[in-house]
């Protein structure tokens, strides 16, 4: 009976995660193309990756999207959570309005922002002209294209950070804050001495979940820039898709996606280790909260 209960998820795990992973791993050492079969070519695909400018750019982009996007989303989300938490009326309505971008399918986010940022008929260009500034080629300039993607990703996912941090704030005990206020501490000090350390577990959870999701960035870029101009906004998922399905080079695309998987696993582990180190030095309240977090699932279970 008990084996029957757990069997389906394990079956799915093996059938659609382990076997495909091994399959992709197998593909990555062949030159299989979409039309026919391929032959074993050892680690040639991987060797080729390291001299492939498109791949290297995509690799760097993926990491930069994660670092820049998640940082921006964390601080904005934290700020919003604090603002809304200190409100007395209208919390529910404001909260739903803040969550709005997160509810929208990323693909739709993509095409709406594509029209918003268009340099000929988009309202952002209109705003720049209205302010007598030079119109900015948001989507056709390599650097600005990259910045645009970070902005759009931040637009969509700051709400997620807000949600986790806001829920975290509401489960904190009240006493330490009242005591500190009676002692005459400034809001700034109360935030850094109490709120921030006590909120660390929720922060870690939010940052980790967001980072993992960020590595998969695909839909928004697919629509807004399509990876261009000249591969300047590519991500590894996007490259993997174009290489394997559009160009039909399954083996090479498989090698790319294996590198992506390794990067995610290594960086997620690193983040956890660094965070645990930091926490070990943090005050006792934070430590206990972390233990509690690690022992139990997240306060809000959005994965």
């Amino acid at each position: 009976m008990k084996h029957l209960l757990i069997a389906p998820p394990l079956l799915f795990f093996f059938a659609i995660s382990v076997i495909p992973l091994l399959f992709t791993l197998g593909l990555s050492v062949t030159n299989t193309s979409i039309g026919g079969s391929g032959s074993f070519i050892g680690l040639n695909n991987y060797a080729q990756l390291f001299s492939d400018q498109f791949f290297l750019r995509g690799f760097l982009n993926t990491i930069l999207y994660v670092v820049l996007g998640v940082t921006a989303q964390y601080w904005l989300g934290l700020g919003l959570a604090l603002l809304v938490n200190s409100m007395v009326h209208g919390k529910r309505l404001i909260r739903l309005l803040i969550l709005l971008p997160m509810m929208i399918p990323p693909l739709i986010v993509g095409f709406v922002w594509q029209t918003l940022l268009d340099s000929r008929y988009g309202p952002v260009a209109g705003l720049f002209t209205g302010l007598h500034l030079k119109p900015v080629p948001w989507l056709t300039d390599p650097t600005l294209g990259f910045v645009s993607i970070v902005i759009v990703d931040t637009w969509q996912w700051t709400p997620f950070m807000f949600l986790l941090l806001f829920t975290g704030l509401r489960t904190l005990p009240k006493e330490p804050f009242e005591a500190a206020r009676v002692d005459g501490a400034s809001s700034w000090r109360i935030f850094w001495d109490h709120t921030f350390p006590m909120l660390l577990p929720a922060s870690i959870a939010a940052i980790l979940l967001r980072s993992i999701e960020s590595f998969k960035l695909f839909d928004i870029v697919f629509f807004i820039t399509g990876g261009g101009p000249g591969g300047a906004t590519n991500t590894l998922t996007l490259l993997g898709y174009f290489t394997s399905l559009r160009s039909g080079n399954l083996g090479y695309g498989a090698a790319m996606s294996i590198i992506l998987l390794l990067t995610v696993v290594v960086l997620a582990t690193l983040i956890l280790i660094v965070v645990r180190r930091l926490m070990a030095r943090a005050d006792k309240a934070g430590q206990q909260a972390l233990d509690q977090f690690l022992a139990e699932p997240l306060p809000v279970k959005v994965a």
Binding site: P20, Y121, T167, R170, T171, D219, P297
Partner: protein, 283 residues
Amino acid sequence: MQSKFNLPKITRWVLLAVWGLFAIFPVYWMIITAFKKQRDIFQGPFLFPFLDFTPATQSWERVFGQDRDDILKGLGNSLLFSSVSALIAVVLGAFAAYGLARYTYKYGPYRNNDLSFLIVSQRIMPPIVAVIALFTMFRTVGLIDSPFGMILAYTWFNLPLTVFILTDFMKRIPLDIEHAAAIDGYKKFAQIWKVVLPLAMPGLAAAYLLSFFFSWNDFILALMLTFQKSSTLPIVITNMSAQMEPRWWLISAVGILAIIPPMLAVIVLDRFMERQVLHGGTR
């Protein structure tokens, strides 16, 4: 917790208003675009209906006329795949979660926590890794572009999530209730089905809504595993926009249709979570 910032009330409202404008404007833009003509779109950014441009219902006429079959197909597929896969993921997830909460497993070195981790760890893997292989495998067995294949893929996609959410819920259900049911002569399966699952209803509902939400918003699985027959709404939209001069008015109108279901899901979900927090942060 009341960590009142000493920022003046005005400043707080201004900051919130600035973010609110940033958050809402793109949605507003999409809604008004759905009421524009091609000319109104390409002649520059018009922001205010009736002042800048005359609202037209051209897009909606196409949605309910010429393009109705395409859109209905996408909408129907999206609804079918999302709702059915969410249901399967929740039922299978609930049983597994019950097992993990109540029994001790030991498969070689793997115990309960390791099993949970294995299942949840699938969410860490970028979908592209599995999907390149799935594409090849599905093609071999004829599951490409089939409803069954898509439901299978989405169930896989959401099962880790439902197991994760529901394990916590199952742990909170008191054992005594099952003992009572056992005394009343219920077999184990009936105990779970008739006694435990109804008690876990809020958790099941939350897991269902989240699963639905994620399948509905998926793009990459549908992009790689469907061509025509089983295209979901996102793929229909993608095909519409793959033109030299995309008809943004039409795409926006379909986009509005695509936003409604996930939005309803989140609003209902928000109610659940609010109740949870009110009940003293049930953690």
